[in-house]
């Protein structure tokens, strides 16, 4: 029985399966449009953001960890001292997101009934910082310090073998908060995954307040008033960042192969990874002519794809489906939203192209270190 559950979890957690599931399920959990909202209501998914949903979620997470603790294979990763923060992360993220959505749904209802949000108080009815806030801060600080001291006493800080430049440990992982980046590196060349994407993340995050011109939902929890912005951000944060960290921590083993959480980390697991570039697909496999000598001709199709995706697609969208939106926010905002949005979307797209077609690069010019 338990073994079957474990096997099922192993299969489900393969990135191809779990990532697809999360991506497909996501709009039903954070519904961005009325249609999704309808299904969200109809199938009772909204109950996730009620108290039973909270208990259910906490139970599922705890169940996973408890089973994992008693599993000889998962035990190894789970009890690594450096992985403890990730367990904390999973719990705290679930609790806080649940709490925000729970409050948001309560507020949405109040707003619908013409009431003010829960957080609203009469502006003249203020409290004194001494003692009301100072004491809370003081207590929070003491409790947190106690927690930190207990943690430090119970878990010794790890120290591995002395540095040896000739032998890379297998697997070799980045600090946990960068595992999302390390996962991206599997699908993109370092200059994209290591430089361009991180810069886009930082600049894109800083640009959020300038791109999201929806004035509603400022200063209180709410969902419905800002559901599209919420949906996009949460997809990036939960699936493309936090979930990739979980994959990197628990599901990546020797040779950076994928392993289910309950699977044994076999360093000799053979996974065929013969990746093929788009140019090879076209010139060698389809046309059968061999690669042209001229780099630009060789990669021409790749450049066309890139221009179509980043350049033409937004223009077409602005003329058709997003017409009203484009007129509302104007060309400058639209350009930036598309730049960051499409770059973000490029990650899952490239992941699927890798999984489905073993596609390595859309543009492959190693001569210039220019691979996309």
């Amino acid at each position: 029985m338990l073994q079957t559950i474990k096997d099922i979890i192993d299969i489900l957690s393969a990135p191809t399966v779990s990532f697809t599931f999360l991506t497909v399920a996501f709009p039903f959990v954070f519904p961005p449009t009325d249609w999704f909202e309808k299904i969200h209501r109809k199938f009772g998914i909204w109950r996730l953001w009620t108290k039973p949903g909270f208990y259910g979620g906490m139970f599922a997470i705890t169940f996973f960890f408890v089973v994992g603790y008693f599993d000889p294979n998962f035990h190894v990763t789970l009890t690594k001292a450096d992985n403890f923060p990730i367990i904390l992360m999973i719990y705290s993220m679930f609790i806080t997101i649940w709490w925000s959505m729970y409050q948001a749904y309560l507020n949405d209802e109040r707003l619908e009934n013409g009431l003010k949000p829960n957080e609203y108080n009469d502006p003249d009815d203020k409290v004194l910082v001494w003692p009301d806030l100072v004491y809370i801060e003081f207590i929070a600080l003491i409790l947190f310090m106690v927690f930190l001291i207990v943690w430090s006493i119970l878990v010794a800080a790890p120290l591995e073998e002395p540095a040896n430049p000739a032998a890379t440990p297998n697997p070799s992982k980045a600090p946990w908060y960068f595992l999302g980046l390390q996962e991206m590196l599997v699908y993109f060349d370092p200059w994209i995954a290591g430089i361009v994407f991180p810069m886009f993340i930082i600049i894109g995050m800083m640009a959020i307040p300038y791109m999201d011109i929806n004035k509603k939902g400022d200063g209180y929890y709410s969902f419905k008033e800002r559901r599209i912005g919420m949906f996009i951000f949460m997809y990036g944060w939960l699936v493309l960042w936090l979930f990739l960290i979980v994959i990197g921590t628990f599901f990546r083993g020797p040779n950076w192969n994928f392993f289910g959480p309950f699977e044994y980390w076999d360093a000799h697991k053979v996974v065929p990874l013969n990746n093929v570039n788009l140019s090879e697909y076209i010139w060698v496999k389809t046309l059968g002519t061999g690669l042209p000598a001229n780099i630009l001709i060789r990669e021409g199709i790749g450049f066309l794809v890139l221009v179509a995706y980043m350049g033409i697609l937004p223009i077409l969208l602005a003329k058709s489906w997003l017409k009203n939106y484009f007129q509302e926010i104007g060309p400058v905002r639209y350009t930036f939203i598309m730049l960051f949005g499409l770059s973000m979307l490029a990650l899952p797209i490239k992941m699927y192209m890798r999984w489905l077609f073993n596609l390595k690069y859309i543009i492959a010019i190693p001569e210039w270190f220019f691979n996309i």
Partner: protein
């Protein structure tokens, strides 16, 4: 309090010359005194004297911004203590770390520092999440959100530079991979796109000995010079910038009208 003439110890203390010289408003009892206690203190007047009711609720701020700041202070103190024992050289770094745990009484300083650093990354993330969830980045707080994003980046960079210092396997390989990304930086990394364009005749301007990665590592490999550079960045460079940005962050919270809230 039954006896009007008998003053409590606290009251008498509050009236003493020493107390009054430090906290002019005496013991914060009355409404006025309480406000004075906040306004008269360098540290506490980071806060306004009065705030809206919802702003003191844990359910609203989750205390995460405050805890991030607190952790920054804890990390500064514990880090300073670690510096008493740690020498940033390939020869000593690893053994100093071992000695620190084994030869120093109550040797959990390293744990406090390491777990505190992990915790700070988490609290900063949670803080960011709550700011997003309450829509608090919206005008007039756009700028402060931007400062926040930089603070988050710096927090992670602080944690990352500290990762190298124990000079164990985990450390050097994480840094090797991390800094090799710099090698792929367009134009200024020697294996980045465009780097080969920056050349005079046959001589490449950007090569393994002159690119950003070299500047970061002080060499072509992670070695002695890298350890020293990361140590300096970790202990002085990055915390310094972080502190400045925190000052801006806190100042702006007040200037943007205090904690966000519904109108």
């Amino acid at each position: 309090m039954e006896n009007k003439n008998k003053k409590s110890f606290l009251e008498r203390m509050g009236e003493s010359q020493v107390w009054k010289s430090i906290i002019r408003s005496g013991v914060p009892r009355s409404r006025r005194q309480r406000m004075q206690a906040i306004l008269g203190s360098v540290f506490l007047h980071l806060h306004p004297a009065r705030i809206p009711k919802h702003a003191v609720k844990i359910g609203y701020t989750w205390c995460m911004g405050g805890l991030s700041f607190f952790l920054f202070i804890v990390l500064t103190i514990t880090g300073l203590l670690l510096m008493f024992y740690y020498r940033p050289t390939v020869e000593y770094a690893y053994t100093d770390i071992i000695d620190m745990a084994e030869q120093v009484p109550l040797g959990i300083m390293r744990e406090l520092h390491r777990w505190g650093a992990h915790a700070m990354v988490l609290t900063v993330w949670l803080h960011m999440l709550r700011v997003f969830m309450t829509g608090s980045y919206k005008p007039p707080r756009e700028f402060n959100w931007g400062v926040g994003v930089l603070l988050m980046t710096l927090t992670m960079f602080l944690s990352f530079t500290g990762y190298l210092l124990p000079w164990d396997q985990l450390a050097i390989w994480a840094i090797t991979v991390g800094t090799n990304m710099a090698r792929a930086h367009p134009f200024i990394g020697h294996e980045g796109p465009g780097a080969s364009l920056l050349a005079i005749g046959d001589i490449n301007l950007v090569h393994a000995g002159s690119d950003v990665r070299f500047a970061l590592l002080g060499g072509r490999f992670v070695g002695e010079a890298s350890l020293l550079r990361f140590y300096v960045l970790h202990c002085i460079g990055v915390p310094f910038i972080t502190m400045i940005l925190m000052a801006v962050h806190f100042w702006r919270i007040r200037k943007d009208g205090g904690i966000s809230g519904p109108l």
